[in-house]
Symmetry: C2
Subunit: 299 residues, 2 copies
């Protein structure tokens, strides 16, 4: 079955202690859609400016991503610039130029409105609501977020959390949302906001699912070197929903494996700047790392 991904489509300028890369293809929807495309037919909803490089459109197409819902507007593409510290865990935003994103209203092409698997990747909660309003009877809705929306759009976000099946956030966001230091205590509080499934991402420490069938401790793939972690969380959730959409049977049966596949795609994402490493991934490479994770966690 197919996946609809809405989120940011951006140009990312990323600085690390070792390198500087201007205007890479980025944004939550770009990372998530490419990740999902390895498993299921994927449709992208977003907006870019007239300056958006043709090679990036071709990259979406190379991955079979349906870009009918990608608006190309007069003006500049959303541009984010950030810098990572030596340990690659802490980053600071250097620049945010919203461009065409400032007045973006997602419109779904008619044929997109019955997509069964919906990923509301990181974007303003109001826009996530707006997309969800246009969908009729989705099978499974996933939403991701970021600290910015906890700071400036908490009410919208809390209303959104009620509407989704799976809510995904990272550990510091979970702490901010629940005021709980303990990840399991935080999961419990987030369930009370509505969603049946909650995942807290912990970067290189993996992720934790809380579901009706109990918790799952999902490993991160062991990387000896992280080149650029930007988009790893988006790749995780994209791979997850892509694999869910491609699997037979119910969510409880499939979600653990889907998370591990998400971890695998996220690991590739971290090995190159922007989407450079992710776009080179093959099914064989994904299956290889999945098998490695089986071996790395068996006892």
């Amino acid at each position: 079955m197919s996946v609809l991904v809405v989120g940011s489509t951006a140009l990312d300028s990323i600085k690390t202690p070792n390198a500087e890369n201007p205007k890479l293809l980025g944004g939550s929807a770009s990372h998530a859609a490419v990740a999902a495309s390895f498993f299921a037919p994927t449709k992208l909803i977003g907006v870019v400016g007239k300056d958006f490089p043709k090679r990036y459109l071709k990259l979406y197409e190379k991955h079979g991503i349906d870009v009918e819902g990608l608006q190309v507007q007069e003006g500049k593409t959303f541009h984010w610039s950030g810098e990572y510290e030596v340990n690659m865990n802490n980053r600071r935003t250097l620049l945010t130029e919203l461009g065409v994103f400032e007045h973006f209203t997602p419109h779904l092409p008619q044929k997109h409105k019955s997509t069964p698997y919906i990923l509301l990747a990181n974007i303003a909660p109001a826009l996530q609501h707006h997309v969800l309003d246009q969908i009729s009877k989705p099978r499974f809705v996933v939403a991701d977020t970021m600290d910015l929306w906890l700071n400036i759009a908490m009410n919208d976000l809390v209303r959104l959390i009620k509407r989704v099946d799976l809510f995904v956030l990272n550990d510091s966001e979970a702490h901010q949302l629940t005021e709980e230091d303990n990840v399991y205590a935080a999961l419990k509080k987030i369930h009370k906001l509505g969603p049946k499934y909650v995942i807290i991402k912990k970067g290189s420490h993996g992720s934790i699912l809380s579901s009706p069938k109990g918790c799952f401790i999902c490993p991160a793939y062991p990387l000896h070197k992280v080149v650029d972690p930007t988009g790893a969380g988006d790749s995780f959730v994209g791979g997850l929903i892509g694999h869910l959409a491609a699997s037979r049977g119910n969510v409880d049966k499939n979600i653990r494996r889907a998370m591990v596949y998400g971890s695998v795609v996220a690991s590739f994402c971290c090995e190159g700047f922007g989407l450079k490493s992710t776009t080179l991934v093959t099914q064989d490479k994904i299956e290889q790392r999945f098998k490695e994770l089986v071996a790395l966690t068996a006892f």
Copy 2:
């Protein structure tokens, strides 16, 4: 087979945001020996002062721990006092009174010198060497450490690391020792110092083993509330060596399960002050949590 544990035997005064507990039974060897005792016959090497409460000696004996190698000397027992922050991850030392520990020289009773499984729990590396010098042909030697020895006894520690089969340390110590932020890069560097097996402990994020048979990502048991994490790392390594000593077959076959059992004992340790929760553990409770960890990680 039996386990010999050397390390600190102390009185711990522990302050958390919610409570204050003076002069609990503590020290690396106390935690590790009790943890090991759930799986294998355990001998303790350490020193206490004349002030050491009889009820604590009885507690060792309740767990069947051989205390023939525990010296009782004129003077005061080593006393450590520490305070935890709200998130229970950061702690600071308020007070360290070495007492009889200042001039401690571990002497092994003759019958202890052929013990097959040796745990050099956290203590000055010079004392760890001194114990190892008295052992003839051990089957498996494990050493743990702490940041203090990296700061003031690095040469002794590096010489010790060469002599052990398994070296265990936490993630911040691994960073300090190797100057690597990446845990897998750090593991690689530590192998170069000599040991065949290296484990990096990551607190609530579990631990990572690097071994001749590859890496293992070991989960932490999910706790919704941590009362006092003091001694959790010692309990982990104590449970690990106890389970190894009790298992048939070679280390590579058994070490992963031994780590998971170590995680289980460490989880009980965190649920009470000092050894209060650990001493109430039963085989049934251990097996229950082991099974839960199987279920929590299966995919």
